[in-house]
Amino acid sequence: MQQIFNFVIKNKTFLLFLLLFSIALALTIQSHSYHRSKFINSANGLTGGIYGTFNSAGQYFNLKDENAILAEENKFLREQLLNSISTKDSSYVDTSYSKGKYRISTAQVYKNSYSLTNNYLTINKGKNDSIKEDFGVITSKGILGIINNTSNNYSTVLSILNKKSSINAMLKSTDHMGSLKWNGDSPHFAQLDDVSKFAPVKVGDTIITGGQSVIFPKGINIGVIESFETDIGGDTYTIQVKLFNDMTNVGTVYILENRDRAEIKMLENSTNE
């Protein structure tokens, strides 16, 4: 017994180092393996409050950009409105919005990162605004990510620039599905994997969300095809997608809640059993 005590006291620095290092390593591995980083994340009062304070000062520098983005979006919406009155082209208008299936709320981005391999954003809406995990997040230009953790007033968003992100997407022209991933390289490009080799892929075609999950409705813009190559197996294409969204400059975002989500989940669960 005495010897054990002596050993502990003699090596106390090393033992403390080992203990703390294994905690840190466990947290790191946990953050690499699961979608939710349960313990250490920036959706809490302390980090949210500090980011909020500095964000409100920094906001003024981006007002010009924000204005330009808003004006552009207004133009787009106005065009859609006028065209829908004159032509009634129902294939173009996204009916999922008009049915009121999605509840939309806005939020400000408090923290954005795009240079790491697993990027997250922090936004200023949380449980008190009835934001829950797995809601979709978009901007006026395109898709941004999925809500990952929520606290009372803040949430973190798993960005599409994250190796853990995988989003159902398809070619706008032909409905061939694939999954949108990120290889960690450039914040302006994402990769669309597992597209059937029978799909007529052309450089410059638009990629939109596929609508197979309950998170995003069908038809939200993602980007255009920059280049593509066949897989090693030769059965599928891997497509390099240039994102519409400038992920390095995100101010205001929209959060989408699918009102039928609970019903769909329940149905899927009962089918699986």
């Binding site: 180092f17 250490i40 500090i50 990162s113 240079s115």
Partner: protein, 168 residues
């Protein structure tokens, strides 16, 4: 003594805030960020308890992790740096360290730079290895380590020199 404690608490908070609010968002050339919060670990008093340094470094790293949603990578890297600090001090300051008589405010700049360079490279290598967590991306790890280290070293040396000369 109390005065010294206050200085270090203020330094802890200021460096943490500057790191998470400013330095994490520089993204020079897309990915180069300086990690200046490790200055706190460099300048921690030498005669203080090593256990205290380990605990405080871990806490500092953990807070940076919390702000940047990165799991525990900063905590692990800061902890390693704190643990390796005596060896770094011995290699770069030699006899001075044996006598416990280093004052960071008036040492030779050359030795200070050696000390910070070795420490920064160690910290950044562990940081990016854990962040990328994939041995097949070793080139990416080395690239990020090299360029971020350069920016951290330059900034750290400048900050240390600027703020220590003021006090005279």
């Amino acid at each position: 003594m109390n005065n010294v404690a206050v200085t270090h608490i203020v330094r802890f908070i200021v460096l943490l805030l500057v790191q998470v609010v400013v330095c994490n968002h520089i993204n020079f050339l897309g990915y180069i960020n300086p990690y200046i919060y490790i200055i706190f670990i460099f300048l921690f008093p030498i005669r203080e308890n090593r256990l205290a340094l380990l605990l405080i470094s871990f806490l500092l790293g953990m807070l940076v992790d919390m702000f940047s949603d990165s799991g525990g990578v900063h905590a692990a890297a800061a902890l390693c740096l704190a643990y390796a600090r005596p060896i770094l001090l011995k290699t770069s300051f030699g006899m001075l360290y044996e006598h416990h008589s280093i004052k960071f405010s008036n040492t030779e700049v050359g030795r200070l730079i050696t000390y910070i360079t070795f420490g920064t490279i160690l910290h950044h290598f562990i940081l990016f290895s854990l962040e990328i967590f994939n041995i097949s991306n070793i080139l990416l790890i080395l690239k990020k380590t090299l360029f971020s280290s350069i920016s951290t070293i330059i900034l750290s040396v400048l900050i240390i020199i600027l703020f220590s000369r003021n006090k005279k």
